[in-house]
């Protein structure tokens, strides 16, 4: 029999103290008594009641997006989170779902057919549109043409961001992920190679069909972004068919080709999609339904980790030295576009796969918590200054970035310990990732 006892919220005391210092708001006494996601114990049902469904009311306090409102949101969310665990206690111990073949196949099929495959198809289309738009701009540079390129680039970044969260399967074969986006590039390898390439002006570098045999650093978004937005990009407007422009178009075309390979790999009926949908003893990817569900949850956990660890902390750590020019897509001012797309991708996968249906109704707050955090993040991220120098140096913007750091950590825990524990995947302490 589960013994429920209040434990300290992970961030309760910390945030209460922090908020008090920030805004003079006294810590609410109930911050001390709440539940926190915990790992499942053997022969024991999970005690995972981080947020009650009523916690969704917090959204109403979040519409403005100003720093003060963000702070209040944080505090309000915690207060609601701390005051409602009892609701989930009324119905007795939550039931772990039975991961039958039918259940797992249903979820994996939705994940593959409704999220992953459409995601790659959409990305392929937007990469193709970027290639066409860029090629047209190269032929006859104009202000309108330039705007069309900017729009197409932003759309391609967005569509990649949606599906980028999938870091397993065909995308990690043959260095496809790095071919599409070589990041982080701590030592500026890609920049140096692209600068040298633009200096050398070898016509062979404008051929998309041979680009795959060259360094991955000159094949993807980092390369085309520098060509379109980096130092010297103003020359794109000076004459038709410049080398730089044609190189940019070739990179876009190559990205489309790589995206097409991913579409083909996932569309093959007897390939990876079959392995994902039908776990079994002879399956080369997932031997059991539990393994498949662990991998699917792993996409969410690792996707959230990547947003925090690779996309934000690469250029901004609270109290550390900011490096705005280390941010992905800083030149085109699409850093937050990309991060928002990642978050939307996580939300889409969680919602459309039907993962939330596995949660026992008595702890539906596990889903509510994830939904709440994602929506909170997606309200704030698009409001952050797109000029990264300003974003990391303005107190108001810094506070928003801190909010993103705190809440992406919460999101990781909500997926990992919260959801993982609630469906019987252990505490998610180690996602079979080799240690």
């Amino acid at each position: 029999m589960l013994t429920r006892r209040p434990t300290f919220h992970r961030f309760g005391p910390l945030l209460a103290a922090g908020l008090s210092r920030l805004r003079g708001i006294p810590p609410h006494p109930t911050l001390r008594a709440t539940f926190s996601p915990r790992g499942r114990r053997e022969n024991e049902t999970p005690a995972i009641i981080p947020f009650s469904p009523a916690g969704r009311r917090c959204r109403q306090a979040d519409e403005g997006g100003t720093p003060r409102q963000i702070t209040l949101l944080l505090a309000t969310g915690l207060l609601l989170a701390t005051s409602l665990p009892a609701a989930a206690q009324e119905g007795g111990a939550p039931v772990l779902p039975e991961l039958t073949d039918e259940v797992v196949t249903g979820i994996m099929t939705r994940a593959v057919d409704d999220v992953i495959r459409p995601g790659y198809r959409t990305f392929q289309a937007s990469a193709g549109a970027l290639a066409e738009t860029t090629a047209a701009f190269c032929k006859a540079p104009s202000e309108d043409g330039r705007k069309a390129v900017d729009d197409a680039f932003r759309q391609a970044v967005t569509d990649w961001g949606h599906i980028e969260i999938v870091r397993i399967g065909p995308v990690i074969e043959d260095n496809r992920f790095e071919r599409i986006l070589f990041y982080p590039d701590r030592k500026g390898t890609g920049l140096k190679q692209v600068q040298a390439l633009l200096q050398k002006q070898d016509e062979a570098d404008t051929k998309a069909e041979t680009m795959g045999s060259k360094s991955v650093a000159i094949q993807g978004f980092g390369a085309i972004e520098f060509a379109l937005y980096g130092t010297g990009a103003e020359t794109l407007m000076t004459a038709p068919e410049t080398f730089r422009c044609r190189y940019a178009a070739a990179v876009a075309s190559h990205i489309e080709t790589t995206a097409g390979q991913l579409v083909a790999a996932w569309d093959a009926p007897d390939g990876v999609q079959r392995d994902w949908k039908h776990p079994g003893p002879q399956n080369p990817v997932f031997r059991t339904g539990k393994e498949a569900m662990t991998a699917l949850l792993g996409i969410l956990v690792h996707g959230a980790e990547a947003v925090r660890d690779q996309r934000v902390e690469t250029f901004y750590r609270h109290g550390g030295i900011a490096r705005p020019k280390s941010a992905a897509f800083w030149r085109s001012e699409n850093t937050w576009t990309s991060i928002d797309a990642n978050l939307e991708g996580l939300q889409t996968l969680f919602d459309k796969s039907g993962m939330e249906e596995l949660i026992d109704p008595s702890i539906a707050s596990v889903n509510g918590n994830i939904d709440f955090i994602l929506k909170s993040l997606r309200r704030v991220v698009p409001t952050i200054d797109t000029t990264m120098e300003k974003a990391v140096s303005t107190p108001e913007e810094q506070q928003k970035i801190n909010f993103v750091l705190v809440n992406t950590r919460e999101l990781i825990l909500a997926f990992d310990g919260g959801y993982g524990g609630a469906i019987g995947l252990g505490s998610g302490f180690s996602f079979s990732d080799g240690d």
Binding site: E173, V285, G426
Partner: protein, 367 residues
């Protein structure tokens, strides 16, 4: 399974108490002190508590937590020196800290920061005299494993670096006489810029290397046959004959049934155990930890993926015991058999409100 003498257990505990010192014992609460007086063995393990905080705990044989030390982030393996009482917790890869705790209470904890362009791989060991700490590290820009040497008598100053003659180095051990270092090169390329992402699963290079502890020279290196190139050799322990037992994690197709355990001695080829198919399936192609109980001639394995705990006869390689342990994590030799932990907080017969990490270190000389 052979019984273990009560006398030797008492000696173990007394030895630990002598080493730990009265100062440390005096800091314990009544319950913890009582647990310490009753236990025949003392262990340490990394943990994550229910508030998401990380630390390292000292435990009694029955799983009672005696003492906790907070850590700034998640740890992985540990190194313990019976000679000095120093216990080191290594950050999980690609972590950049190792915390040295003086179990005698004579010195304050020491934090070792990874040197520039290196990060810890999560394991290490002490020279038998406790003077040198060896840490498995990643020279990530050159994509090669290295061993960092730290002087325990000089505040753990980094004094030298050896190659491991492989990539993706994970576990590291030392022979009883201190002359040989044994490196388990998992063969998987990682880079801190990409977190824990495995960058070369289609061209892995696993190997096991014996290295001269005095000079860093390669003595012998064992690569794996082509058909096992995706078998990551990750954890090792030594038996009473000095044979090296190694445990693996397979990155190839999930419906393959590769050998997961083997052993070798200096100058010998690798010998892989042919475990029963149901045992291999139970281990889910992933052995998370291995330990040798020298007194009883046993080899223990745990698999969190398979939720399995397996005991082998070190002499014959046969399976003596197989048990389901959900989220089985660490394993260490105990006075009788093995101490096994789980991510779910289980340690022996006790459950704590923590997730135990992947490894357990024995702090009493009973292996």
């Amino acid at each position: 399974m052979a019984a273990t003498g009560r006398h030797s257990a008492l000696v173990d505990r007394r030895a630990f108490l002598r080493m730990a010192g009265a100062a440390w014992v005096a800091t314990l609460g009544a319950g913890e002190s009582f647990a310490l007086t009753r236990t025949d063995a003392v262990f340490a393990s990394g943990y994550r508590d229910s508030d998401g905080r990380f630390g390292i705990a000292v435990l009694a044989e029955d799983g009672t937590v005696i003492d906790r030390t907070p850590l700034p982030a998640r740890s992985h393996g540990m190194a313990f020196s019976p000679a000095t009482g120093h216990l080191v917790a290594f950050a999980r890869r690609p972590g950049t800290f190792a915390l040295v705790i003086d179990r005698t209470g004579k010195a304050a904890p020491v934090t070792i920061a990874a040197t520039e362009d290196r990060h810890f791989f999560g394991h290490g060991c002490f020279s038998p005299d406790g003077r040198v700490l060896y840490a498995s590290e990643n020279d990530f820009d050159a994509n090669r494993g290295v061993i960092g040497l730290y002087d325990a008598r000089d505040g753990y100053r980094r004094i030298d670096e050896y190659s491991t003659y492989g990539i993706g180095t994970h576990d590291l051990s030392v022979s009883d006489d201190g002359s040989l270092l044994i490196a388990a090169n998992g063969g998987i390329e990682t880079h801190p810029d990409f977190g824990r992402t495995k960058l070369n699963l289609d061209h892995m290079e696993p190997s096991l290397a014996l290295i001269d502890a005095a000079t860093g020279a390669l003595i012998e290196r064992h690569t794996l046959p082509q058909k096992l190139r995706q078998l990551s050799t990750r954890h090792i322990d030594l038996d009473d004959r000095g044979r090296i037992w190694f445990a693996c994690q397979y990155e190839g197709p999930r419906n393959d049934l590769p050998p997961l355990v083997g052993h070798f001695g200096k100058g010998e080829d690798l010998t892989f155990l042919s475990l029963p198919e149901e045992t291999t399936i139970g281990l889910a192609n992933y052995v998370g930890a291995i330990a040798v109980n020298r007194r009883e001639g046993l080899v223990g394995l745990t698999s969190p993926n398979g939720g399995r705990f397996v005991v082998l006869d070190a002499g014959t390689g046969s399976v003596l015991r197989e048990e389901s342990v959900i989220d089985a994590a660490g394993i260490a030799a105990a006075p009788q058999g093995f101490a096994v932990s789980s991510y779910g907080g289980r340690f022996a017969g006790h459950r704590a409100d923590v997730s135990w990490d992947q490894h357990i270190a024995g702090l009493t000389p009973h292996r």
